[in-house]
Symmetry: C2
Subunit: 393 residues, 2 copies
């Protein structure tokens, strides 16, 4: 059977742009995983989640295992709403949709708002999975550079002004990870956040704010862009993956009610009653601010360990950005093709993600690489950087 | 902000065809829920699922709570594959995708294979949620009646022959619930299953076989269409919702590897490590054939209770189909608009789903209604039918 003839036009285009298949080689046994953007295993609250399930079943019996019916599903909505309000984001009725992770929120937004005639703007570099998702819907992707102060909003303004003047399609939305950006670890300054909001009104686009790392600040917590969204243009995506556990698949999108209602319409995995009720039961019993303090302390220590190791073991030509939160250090190794170096690194026993994979055009970013300090133990971080240093000496 | 201008053409079409919003009125307190296609609460293995989580965390600690890593994710694939093979469905590498419930499988298939230029064929009546999903992608929906022996394959052949002769679009796939059909409870005969497979080759369409109820046979288990799929044309959808619990959201699609790979590409809620690993741990510890025997016995008894009550309490003009498995009895009340009767029924304290909601054209099915015997206790079933009888006397 010739499957290709089965696929409609849009499907063919999506599959062609993004040939499925792993590009990241398998990691050898014992490899120090500085590539994994995973939470630290020791910080996953597995015992508390087990206790939450015990409590849930004891109190509710079969209710959380049906299609609907656990009162804790509404509890989770209220808990998330409260946390958002503590961060300055007001949530009205119908403005919050719980999704199966942040990725699903991105996909629902793209699926609802994009087709091959729409354009979007993204940061360059950006979250790989998001770039893949967007390319399933459109090829009109405008890329705007990120520097140490985050998205270059002046460059954005220039590009949009020119596009408008030349009669080119303006973006339907701009996708940004303003706090502890993946992969650069940078944070968009308050000035640029204001500027971005102004531009969204001037050029009539939505802002899709991916705040997956936003609560992992080592010093001051940046104010979400959504907290200043008086014009109702921001769709705020969040996730409990980095602050509780990814395996529960709990994320959300907050925004304009009509848009959120449309996202809900297209969400066909329905709710996840058991996972959501378990998360609600877990959150009831945890002192969340205390947990956040612990996470921030642990990750800050790991960041410090990595930065010190970079200073100690890498040649002086190598530069990096010191992140103020989150998981990642973005490193530049002038004159080196980091995707080629990866093979040697794996033999040496350390992994990272080559920078070019975070760019739409994979000719960019070849000298960069992303290191995660989140997952590995401190000793492993030091050893991993030492191995990297050996390769570059 | 004018949201309507934000939506691309396909999104507008989808939202227009299917205005979001509940059509089913809220059920009054104490209402006997003969509308709920839910498993029986007493058959939900909540204690065993709690025990499965306890075992899982004890053995694997944080592993099932990360993005990947629990070995039980592969276990679940093997367990499902074994169960399918026991039912005559061979599963090769890459042919099985675990989905978040059967609904997500339907949506992924539709999303991958349909656009406004493709046509599909469905049974009439059919599963409401599936009809909604398909209408998100195409308006070209050919409906084929169902009778006591299931899908009318002769009618299908006639319609497709005429369409081909007239140069009209032939369906990309036909969606069927051949065993213990929702809503009619009918089962497609073996002869018609063979005929359908022949037609799929003759007219070059795929068969999407929704087997959500297939294991709930009260006598002989029907052979899945997929078990005779030598031409590789069947996409088999299954679910553990009815045989374990809906709240875990575990379903699957089995079929041609290239198609399944495309479905996986568009699945952006990623895997559900915790739910999948929990299900695998549960299945390890349950004697599944024994459980199925218990379920079949319990549901058969409930069916018998409902049929006896129908015979006892409803006027002789009312007819129904006696299902050989599954959850539903499809009832015809000549001369009555069952969607209008519903209001009185709710006042009386019994609910059902009016038949017209299962038809693409809601002028059809107005004299029908769907009763579920799965959820309620036997006494409630009797009382509920008695209340219905009162309304019709």
């Amino acid at each position: 059977m010739n499957d290709q003839s089965l696929f409609p036009k849009a499907t063919k285009a999506a599959l062609k742009n993004n040939p499925p298949g792993a590009w990241m080689p398998a990691l050898p046994k014992g490899c120090i995983r500085l590539s994994s953007g995973y939470p630290a295993p020791e910080l996953i609250p597995s015992e508390q989640i087990k206790a939450a399930v015990d409590k849930l079943i004891q109190e509710e019996h079969d209710l959380p295992l049906h299609y609907l019916g656990s009162p804790r599903i509404k509890s989770l909505q209220r808990q998330l709403q409260r946390r958002l309000e503590e961060r300055g984001i007001s949530v009205q009725e119908g403005e919050l949709l719980i999704t199966s992770g942040g990725c699903q929120a991105i996909d629902l937004i793209a699926r609802t708002l994009l087709d091959e005639e729409t354009a979007i703007a993204v940061e360059s570099p950006s979250y790989m999975e998001a770039l893949e998702i967007f390319q399933n819907y459109t090829n009109q992707i405008i890329t705007i550079p990120v520097d140490e102060r985050g998205l270059q909003t002046n460059t954005l303004e220039t590009i949009l002004t020119e596009r408008k003047r030349d009669g080119l399609t303006l973006p339907r939305f701009l996708y940004t990870i303003p706090s502890f950006h993946n992969p650069t670890g940078t944070t968009m300054t308050p000035e640029r956040r204001s500027h971005l909001l102004e531009l969204s009104i001037k050029f009539d686009f939505l802002i899709v704010e991916d705040d997956a790392y936003g609560e992992l600040a080592f010093l001051d917590s940046p104010t979400p862009i959504k907290a200043n969204d008086s014009a109702g243009r921001v769709l705020h995506i969040g996730s409990l993956s980095k602050v509780v556990a990814p395996g529960m698949r709990i994320g959300w999108v907050v925004g304009d009610r009509e848009l959120v209602s449309a996202f809900a319409w297209f969400k066909k995995d329905l709710d996840h009653p058991f996972a959501q009720a378990t998360m609600a039961a877990y959150l009831e019993n945890v002192e969340f601010e205390q947990r956040l303090t612990l996470l921030r302390e642990e990750y800050r220590t790991k960041r410090d360990t990595m930065i010190q190791a970079l200073e100690q073991f890498l040649p002086s030509s190598v530069t990096w950005h010191v992140p103020e939160g989150g998981y990642f250090v973005w490193v530049k190794i002038p004159g080196i093709e980091t995707s080629c170096l990866l093979e040697k690194a794996l033999v040496e026993g350390v992994s990272y993600i080559p920078g070019k994979y975070f760019f739409l055009n994979q000719k960019d970013g070849s000298e960069f690489l992303r290191l995660s300090f989140s997952y590995s133990q401190k000793e492993e971080i030091i050893q991993g950087i030492q191995k990297l240093g050996k390769l570059l000496s």
